[in-house]
């Protein structure tokens, strides 16, 4: 935790991130049990969304099949318990590894295709697992899923389950963040921005994408384990393409171009869904309309809005410029962006252009760089 905070502070992330972590830490004392369970679900989904965003936001690879690895994580725990009576602590380690191996195999096949073909092929893989799990009842429990005392008694108390989920998800996010800001992560983004240029520079495009896909599979499966901790069961719906859709919406909602944007999206989505379900009979309609509004009006999500708000504040109150600029820069920097080599600089420039197309924002981007150097 301390390293995480130090890392966040070192990268000048907005105070909001620190506040969020503090809020999550005091939540067990402040919230009702039902509300706490909801937050716990959101934390697990935040890991799922960020793991998926390693592909979408960083790699430019829209996978509609991450539910496959999410489901593999959950079913590793459930099936190992059902057939072999394996301890949860063993499967906690085994599940992400199995997810990574599965992702490696799927990636070898799927990464030969591109763009929409890639999206639809990954979708087909997750749907394939979905129907197989539903059909092979004797082995998988069929459409009802797997129920039973698969969790150790330690995790049956809601407080322990919450802290365990928070710790695992924070650890997972920290590792993911290290991957995203490493030279590997930077190269991945260079490929996203311009595949041909990266290839010409001698980058092994397929190898990088395959590694990213494997990492993502690892953390999606870990999130799947957390879903078992939350639901105390495994359900075939985890594999379905609609489940694969959630982390994508969360990334779009929160902001796919920042590291923690999808996590923010997961928290917002989980809370908003309950409100929607409670207040509207046509909750899908409202959710669809919100999604559409975000795509049309704020393509970089809530995190992008916050970043723009920060820059606006910096302009409005020059006396507080340093702080404001830091907040604005931090939102972008949470993605691990920094003034570095040419590819990275180009990458940020392109992204600014793609996102806003406005001269003003371009100027802001330059301010950010000046502020940080």
């Amino acid at each position: 935790m301390a390293t995480f905070l130090a890392a966040v502070r070192g990268r000048r992330a907005p105070a909001a991130v620190v506040a969020l972590i503090a809020a999550l830490a005091v939540a067990p004392g402040a919230l009702s049990q039902a509300a706490l369970l909801n937050v716990q679900d959101a934390i697990g989904l935040a890991l799922f969304a960020c793991a998926t965003n390693l592909l979408i936001g960083y790699g430019g690879l829209v996978s509609f099949g991450q539910g496959a690895f999410y489901g593999i994580g959950a079913y590793t725990v459930a099936l190992a318990w059902m057939h072999l009576n394996t301890s949860f602590w063993v499967t906690l380690v085994a599940a992400p590894l199995l997810g990574a191996v599965a992702a490696l195999v799927v990636g070898l096949l799927a990464l030969r295709t591109r763009q929409l073909y890639f999206a639809l092929l990954t979708l087909a893989v997750s749907q394939l697992l979905y129907v197989i799990v539903q059909q092979q009842e004797s082995f998988t429990g069929g459409a009802d899923g797997v129920f039973g005392p698969m969790l150790p008694s330690f995790l049956l108390s809601s407080g322990n389950a919450y802290w365990f989920t928070l710790a695992v998800a924070a650890g997972g996010l920290l590792l993911l963040w290290q991957i995203a800001r490493s030279p590997f992560g930077m190269t991945l983004r260079a490929i996203r921005e311009n595949r041909e240029r990266a290839e010409a520079l001698g980058v092994n495009v397929f190898g990088h994408q395959l590694l990213a896909f494997t990492f993502s599979g690892f953390f999606c499966a870990l999130a799947g384990v957390l879903s078992v901790v939350w639901a105390q069961s495994a359900n075939p719906n985890l594999f379905s393409w609609t489940e694969s859709g959630y982390p994508i919406f969360m990334a779009v909602l929160g902001g796919q171009y920042t590291f923690l944007g999808p996590a923010l999206g997961a928290l917002i989505y989980e809370q908003a869904r309950d409100v929607l379900l409670a207040s509207f009979s046509d909750s899908q309609l409202v959710f669809g309309a919100v999604l559409l509004a975000i795509i049309l009006a704020a393509p970089d999500g809530v995190a992008g809005l916050l970043g723009r708000g920060g820059r606006l504040l910096a302009r409005r109150w020059p006396a507080r410029t340093a702080g404001g600029q830091r907040a604005a820069a931090g939102t972008a920097a949470a993605a691990g962006a920094g003034a570095g080599d040419g590819v990275r600089r180009q990458d940020r420039q392109d992204r600014h252009d793609a996102r806003t197309g406005g001269q003003q924002d371009r100027a802001d981007g330059q301010e950010d760089r000046v502020a940080r150097s």
């Binding site: 929409l116 073909y117 999206a119 092929l121 859709g245 046509d282 959710f287 999604l291 795509i295």
Partner: protein, 290 residues
């Protein structure tokens, strides 16, 4: 021997509505370069509107009216959708387009539920098409033959449209290079709206055509869009001929699955798609994405 003919014709019946739906999807993708998830909603609108117009009691002329009027009405909705929403996402990346059409899919899904409820509905076959014919010693429904015939006509009409008309060569030109087409004086936004309206029309027509073959219930939009995606991807996105081949492959796989391995049948279409893309990453008749 007779069993094989009947089995093959059953597969062809399944392929017919699949082809009509996938042809619309692939046509829209070819020209507009967007994957329209809401295509499934337009299909569902077609099927549900047919249940309202025709009803489950056998009614002669009402079915023919539905077959003509429903696709046209849904096509108008498609045009409105294209102008009001999709025009705003053409310049964005694939993900934004996918999410936008998925948002439309969610919105239309709730509207369908609101209008037609959650109970399963059905459409009666008109008297002329109600019976069955004897083929090689087996019985085969006349309506199924009719569905196959309509699909064949749609295929021919699309071929004629694309290859023999001025609109057709503009659509093909838009697939090649829309900037060049625009600078040559074609109103490209209008062309896109036209293509989208045709695509929506085909989706709704497929919905009406399939309505008497099975029960019409919520979830239809999700199941058909997955099937249509798979068909279009196997054939190669953008290729109408590919959609026909893809529909045939999927229908044959499904029929074979039901016959020989019922427990694994739902898995077959996904296996078919994975196998085809493993061998040809752009589908059978598709071309490589840049």
């Amino acid at each position: 021997m007779s069993h094989y003919l009947i089995t093959f014709l059953s597969a062809l019946t399944e392929a017919s509505s699949l082809f009509v739906a996938a042809a619309g999807l692939t046509l829209v993708f070819g020209a507009l370069r967007i994957i329209n998830i809401a295509h499934g909603s337009f299909y569902a609108f077609g099927a549900f509107a047919a249940t309202t117009l025709v009803g489950s009691a056998a009614g002669g002329w009402r079915f023919w009216l539905a077959l003509l009027a429903v696709p046209l009405a849904v096509a108008v909705l498609g045009g409105v959708t294209e102008v009001s929403v999709l025009r705003r996402v053409y310049g964005k990346d694939h993900l934004a387009q996918l999410v936008a059409t998925y948002a439309l899919f969610l919105i239309f899904g709730d509207i369908t539920l609101r209008l037609w409820g959650s109970a399963a509905r059905s459409v009666a076959v008109p008297a002329v098409l109600a019976g069955s014919v004897t083929l090689d010693g087996g019985e085969f429904p006349v309506y199924d033959l009719f569905a196959i015939g309509v699909a064949a006509c749609v295929g021919l009409a699309l071929w004629a449209l694309l290859q023999r008309t001025a609109l057709g060569w503009r659509i093909r030109a838009a697939v090649e290079d829309r900037e060049l087409l625009a600078s040559a004086g074609t109103n490209v936004p209008l062309l896109f709206t036209t293509v989208f309206v045709i695509g929506t029309l085909l989706a709704a027509l497929a919905g009406v055509l399939a309505a008497p073959l099975a029960s019409v219930a919520p979830g239809l939009d999700a199941s058909i869009i997955i099937a249509a995606f798979i068909v279009a991807v196997i054939g190669g996105l953008g290729s109408v001929t590919g959609a026909a081949i893809g529909a045939l492959i999927i229908a044959l796989f499904n029929t074979a699955g039901v016959l020989w391995a019922p427990a694994w049948e739902p898995a077959f279409i996904y296996l078919a798609m994975i196998a085809v893309l493993a061998l040809r990453p752009w589908g059978l008749l598709g071309r490589a994405e840049r």
